[in-house]
Symmetry: D2
Subunit: 345 residues, 4 copies
């Protein structure tokens, strides 16, 4: 059984394990106040072109989302997200457990559209009962989105402009950021993202690390007391060095980008095979997640040798599924899958 | 200016004020543990035909909703509600502030449909990532709904059946319950509601009282420690007697039903005038709230003498608005409004 | 049975009932946006000598405490209170339910002392693990305290000075404020309190009203979006006018002070009888709550005709109890109690 | 500079790193549903002698504490802990952020005493205002405690008996459990702890692992839906295998106990040196944390070569500090410290 069901099926890139071995018995202070973290912070700030960025390392995506959002919002304020947004459907109500409503909007391609934000803010301001409604205060987006699509630079600029117009924070969840940045047709990079968000994070868990998300805060209002809230949420790793070591390994020489490109290239190879086979797609993805539609009988056949994620029923005989590549995917495994697809009758 | 914008524009029915006067200097224990409350509890239990009901008096609707829901749900559990449900849009995120997600469904006529609940529960159970999603555990409905429509007995039976099938609580918000029970065509009464819900409340604030909602808990699992949670939410009135006195006045001789019928009858009279004028309606309401569509120029004219609530834009020249009658509405005011409508050119 | 167990055993002062009768059928907007509330706000601002004060009316004390505190604090911030403080022991964890820790200090006479606040802030600032600890951000005091004692003006000045030094808000719970202001030896008044707090409230529930607390916010940082949070907590009364009418009745001609003085005078009369009988006291109170120590056998005898609150065991044969007078206490009832005490053998 | 300031200054035991290397490219399901976790669960259940135990792996101690406690308590229920308990002072109000009050008691030696629990429960039950107070529902203890002391089997039995008598859950935080179990004079082991708790955890972060705490739930009431709440709190590691691999390495051949004994033995060696030097102790610890009192001038001297944690001022010239050994401590470093102490003039 070869796994294409997710992008976190293996451990970590060998470079990371090597660094963990080398530094293992060095004594450091805890909680991310060590030199490795300091070094990684500097590296990331440089990569973002922002000396004023405030960087903290967290363990996972749900943790990063709830910590950032709870740190930013007062009790009556909500966060706008796509219906399909991770915080809206796949975090067991973590944002609500912190007291905040997720204000879901139904955007195209799994995105939040600037016009939707504007409309919601205008409606809020002009409603006589505005105090009876949750106040929109943040926009949460993922890039790539949950269905593998990308925000263009123009879209992000427009979203940021609307956020600033109405006093909202813009938060970009980059759990798969590498796969977005290296995708064909992408026109964003770290500096442009840092310029167009109040806060974002660079995902490590799905891009080569054992675990870890680097939260980059640009807006000074969101920096204050952030570490108190990390601690409160159980999000301050005792051996914080483990995060610093990993992110330094990923960013000091461009490893993060290199392994991301690898995953994207294999995903495109796979995509061609899907197209060749005549598949349609749940969404047009240029990143490491692909959402082809197959006949159920074909899926049964594929499932004998390959794992993938069931996504949704399309009609009585067809379903959409998800195939992921990752930093760890072997080209030979992709080739085996393609061979299998070609042999589906 | 005559107000038709809401059903809480006046104080209380004179009978209630009289009782408050008469009992004013009687000394009682606090927090609803007095004889007036005890008496009112017995009266309500009798009206519901349920000696085993557990009755507590709260001050307002938002307070009742958040107290009941937070008392019922564990931290990972959510409450299904209509998109238009009061808890989903008009309580400033009170349910989320208690830590729970509102799982909104888009039902016809402002209702939650049994089939929607079943579909959500089935989807939850069969999703591989079910632990990553909020667990549906309660259904919240209002009867009448926010747009004046009513659940039939058959609909409520079906909803309750599905709730029991999947282990969900059914909670009926009866902020305007009287106006529902006295409406033409309604086939529910207090005993049938008590038999088809786990918990519901009888609204006083909008039906003759100064304030107050009588929460009736039928399911034993929801009774335990309920008063602790009332106190915690600031929902335990020091002079709880004020609530007992009011509900006893409303229910001992059927005053609640009588004044509700009054409001409904005037609403129907008004409805006929809307129809005669050629209005369409945002929703087909048989209760005290009517949602006619008028030309904007007509609304401007009506607004000179009468207040109503702006609901939504229908097209470039038309808007839907809300007119409410209540226990306190004077027939002469309704007549004046009808006259004005007839004179709109 | 004559009740001295609390100060909320009756309804409301007759003047208040009269006003509620007179205005009963006047139509007003809801949620405290009516003219009665506006008028009462102006009256209270004048009484405080602060045109810039922001006044909102809430229904009860627990509700006022949790709304003010949750509106003021971020998620990692706590509120310093006396061990015996109402929010620390008698609100079923309402502050914690909003996510905030109560940082209890053991002050003399049920008070929070400025030196204790300073010590806690200094300790916090200088602890290497400060981010692992709740950040002190507010001081909560009651005046009178839970055990009937009063802050002097000098004490309040010192407390406020320390709060400002460390960036903390000072919040004064005035559930029984009238009884404090009219007490012998008190040197505070509304303007001095308004000058020495960031926010406080004037209690109506225990001082002549059916219910109601007037929250007075002085610090602009605490005013923003306060009504959103009121609504979210179920603390925005639909018929808000009921609160405006009551507070206007209490403050337009000094009724609040007059009825408070009445209660204090009767409490002093009672206190003399306790002293004459040889009682010691749990605390030296100059306000309407008295905490004498009696033999258990004497309490049994007193309990036949009078109700009081059990406070705590003092030794094997003695207990401390609480007797309250109020705006509604009749002098003849006090005399009857005194007679009974004199007849205890 | 040699670090004795904490027990998490290094990475992980080499056996753990080796296992992570060996398994690195094996593909597994995520979220702790892999074979490594399954295997480690079986190993731990066997070590506890409880086939019915429910074992989940979390990343850190604060996370484990808040997840277990929030999963167990309803909104009005609190957790009893020692004043010095980690959840009461060093987790930035994480329990309160989940809505629950920590009910602090001041026990000897950093412990919660059975008699204190009994007293609090009795007081709660018999208070007329019990509904106005937080309901005690859980007891949280750490073993070893925050100051290095141990519960005896008799103490734990008594505590558990009282918990069962009043319907409370007993939760044991074992962040340093190994150092307790291997200490001189300890009479507890995993099976006896499993028999005398409702839930406990075995700390990995401080005992040889990179990170990780194994939560062992014995009481069926606490098992239901636990993983939902893990996910909600950001406590479900995507690559859960990392936890399974580590705990299997620690428990399959007794490594956990062996490295714990190592730390305890070095701590005792150090303790003798403190005694020889004439130190008194903040607490009598038999575990890896020692709390000697030194002159401030001596501390300054020691601080040139060794790091330790400042604990508290004892008098004008003396302070208590903390020295920790761990699984990673080298005997030569302990010898160097002892030599330095002997040379303090």
């Amino acid at each position: 059984m070869i796994r294409f069901n997710c992008d976190y099926a293996e451990g970590a890139h060998e470079m990371i394990l090597r660094r963990l071995m080398e530094t293992n018995l060095v004594q450091t202070p805890g909680y991310g106040e060590d030199e490795y973290c300091e070094q990684a912070r500097e590296t990331i700030k440089k990569a973002c072109g922002r000396e004023d960025a405030y960087v903290q390392f967290l363990v996972g995506g749900t943790q990063a989302n709830l910590t950032v959002i709870d740190a930013a919002l007062r009790t009556h304020q909500g966060v706008i997200a796509a219906c399909t947004g991770h915080i809206n459907v796949h975090e067991t109500g973590s944002i609500e457990a912190c007291g905040h409503k997720v204000l879901a909007v139904n955007g195209r391609d799994g995105k939040v559209e600037a016009a939707q934000v504007e409309k919601m803010c205008e409606a809020h301001i002009h409603d006589d009962s505005f105090e009876h409604m949750v106040q929109p205060k943040m926009v949460y987006i993922s890039n790539p989105t949950e269905i593998g699509t990308l925000y263009s630079k123009a879209e992000l600029e427009e979203l940021y402009r609307v956020c600033k117009k109405y006093g909202l924070y813009l938060f970009l969840d980059g759990a798969r950021l590498g796969y977005g940045l290296m995708a064909e047709g992408n026109d964003l990079d770290l500096p442009s993202i840092a310029a167009l968000c109040d806060v974002f994070y660079i995902g490590g868990t799905k891009v080569g690390a054992l675990f870890g998300e680097a939260v980059v805060i640009l807006n000074p209002a969101l920096k204050e007391d952030f570490r108190y809230i990390m601690k409160q949420k159980g999000a301050m790793l005792a051996k914080g060095r483990l995060l610093g070591i990993q992110f330094q390994a990923l960013f000091e020489d461009g490893l993060y980008f290199e392994i991301s490109r690898h995953a994207d290239q294999l995903a495109m190879k796979l995509k061609e095979a899907f197209i060749e086979h005549g598949c349609t797609f749940l969404a047009e993805s240029v990143t490491n997640q692909q959402f082809p539609v197959f006949k159920d009988t074909e899926l049964e056949e594929l499932g004998k040798d390959f794992s993938f994620t069931y996504q949704e029923r399309v009609d009585e005989e067809h379903s959409a599924v998800r195939f992921c590549t990752s930093w760890a995917t072997k080209e030979e495994d992709v080739d085996a899958l393609i061979e299998k697809i070609r042999n589906l009758r």
